[in-house]
């Protein structure tokens, strides 16, 4: 009852505070979202047409490369690989799958088995890989208890780089997105005894807008990076059996979730992987799958 009372009292805070904190939208943003949607349709059409143009001659010559299998792969070859990759299917969260040694080659489809794929990879700057997009039913929060005495500490970018031991900035971000996050002073959460509790570093890229951002419909990519992993903070419920993608020899779990915002719908992609003992979580909304894959690829350099 007390928390409900406090919630009610927060409802009476100063009106300026309410307006300042608002995520505002306007017609310009809406129009841009509609425009973007049509552009995405056009881009998808061109992509599908290109894939069909390449695949049909290959089918005719009985030489089907195992590349770019979006949603479900229909080839027997892929299904055989999926069986080998499905040992984590009983797990419900990306978090759990991250605990596996996902860089192990034992369960991984070998991208070099087909010479056509190698050629294709070169031609497409390394983005043509085995891609599965798992349909996400829901993403829910898991409880996350913080130490009562935790506090924030600001680290310089050099300190962060020294901690991670490598450059953790993505090398590819879609042209229409711009960096929003601050990478000069990084706030990390420390325990009361001065040890690091949460080492997550976030990068945010978003389409520019003169107005305040209407977050759901604006093309956005956010990348979270951690050596300690993400504390099991998200539970992903898949509609179907999970399948693991392979990008640049790294196993990547990719999910797609259809979201509603009012009467509008938008897709969001989420990917989790471990590269070089660092955990990555990439989230992209209102962007094409192609750009999303390129962004993941840009984290694996």
């Amino acid at each position: 009852m007390k928390s409900k009372k406090l919630f009610e009292e927060i409802g009476n805070i100063n009106e300026n505070l309410i307006e300042q904190a608002a995520f505002k939208s306007d017609d310009k943003t809406k129009n841009r979202a509609i425009w973007y949607r049509w552009a995405s349709f056009a881009a998808c059409f061109v992509l599908i047409a290109s894939v069909v143009a390449v695949i049909i001659p290959l089918i005719e010559s009985n030489n089907i490369p195992n590349i770019f299998s979006v949603e479900e792969s229909s080839t027997n070859e892929s299904n055989e690989k999926e069986k080998g990759l499905s040992k984590e299917d009983d797990e419900n969260s990306f978090q759990n799958s991250e605990k596996e040694d996902i860089t192990s080659n034992d369960n991984m489809a070998d991208p070099s088995q087909n010479s056509d794929q190698e050629e294709s990879t070169k031609e497409n700057d390394g983005i043509n890989n085995l891609i599965f997009v798992n349909e996400v039913n829901s993403i829910s929060n898991a409880a996350n208890e913080f130490p009562p005495d935790c506090y924030e500490e600001v680290w310089s970018w050099d300190e962060v780089l020294s901690y991670y031991g490598k450059n953790i900035k993505p090398t590819y971000i879609p042209d229409n997105l711009f960096k929003i996050s601050n990478d000069t002073d990084i706030e990390l959460t420390m325990r009361g005894d001065g040890t690091l509790y949460c080492d997550v570093v976030d990068f945010l890229y978003r389409e520019k807008s003169e107005d305040d951002v209407f977050m759901q419909m604006t093309p956005t990519i956010s990348i979270s990076i951690s050596k300690m992993n993400f504390f099991g903070d998200m539970i992903i419920d898949f509609k179907t059996e999970k399948k693991v993608s392979n990008i640049k020899n790294i196993e990547v779990m990719i999910g797609c979730e259809e979201n509603n915002y009012g009467d509008e719908k938008y897709d969001a992609y989420i990917a989790v992987f471990n590269y070089d003992n660092v955990y990555y979580r990439v989230y992209g909304s209102n962007i094409s799958l192609d750009e999303f894959i390129k962004t993941i690829s840009g984290c694996i350099e």
């Binding site: 997550v200 945010l204 915002y261």
Partner: protein, 185 residues
């Protein structure tokens, strides 16, 4: 249409006032109501109730900010509906939000001190002005607009752990502030 013109329409008792309000603020209303009720149909019904309440209260009321006024009305309406529906339709996300707020007071304290509501909300406002912009906006988005942690992560480009860590620290600071001001809920 400009808010002041919409308010004038209410004073003229023109039904166009509701049309204009709906055109401008329906998305905001649906969003806040849905964050609390987690049901689109209930949220739309809640919005219709909100427009009726706004129609019945303006005039005599002349809100300085129509945006803030409407958001408050829809929030209160949704909260009452949530209490009504609570037994049948639980919203785990909103329950979680309320449980988070328990950190802002001492749960072992059984003494209920009756304090004028405006004193509490003024103290909360003063506290919010005293903290960093980002922490303030995230706190208001979470506990005023009832925005989900996921949406906050998406908007601010922060991981869930970071958003929760920031909210946790703000709640503890608010608790200390309220205690210092001698306010007990």
């Amino acid at each position: 249409m400009d808010d002041s013109k919409i308010i004038e329409l209410y004073f003229e008792r023109s039904e166009k006032a509701i049309e204009e309000t709906q055109a401008k603020y329906d998305k905001l209303c649906v969003c806040i109501a849905n964050n609390i009720l987690n049901n689109e149909e209930d949220a739309k019904e809640c919005c219709n109730d909100t427009y009726l309440k706004v129609w019945n209260t303006i005039p005599p009321l002349r809100p300085a900010s129509l945006y803030a006024y409407i958001s408050k009305v829809v929030r209160n309406t949704a909260l009452h509906k949530y209490e009504y529906y609570h037994a049948q339709k639980r919203n785990n996300e909103f329950d979680m939000l309320l449980s988070e707020l328990e950190e802002c007071f001492n749960t072992s304290d059984n003494i209920e001190v009756i304090i004028d509501n405006s004193v509490i909300s003024n103290a909360i406002s003063e506290f919010l002005y005293s903290i960093k912009n980002e922490a303030r906006n995230i706190f208001i988005q979470r506990y005023y607009y009832s925005e989900s942690i996921r949406n906050l992560c998406n908007h601010y480009g922060m991981s869930k752990s970071k958003i929760e860590s920031m909210l946790h620290r703000t709640r503890i600071k608010l608790k200390e502030y309220l205690e210092k001001e001698g306010i007990s809920l």
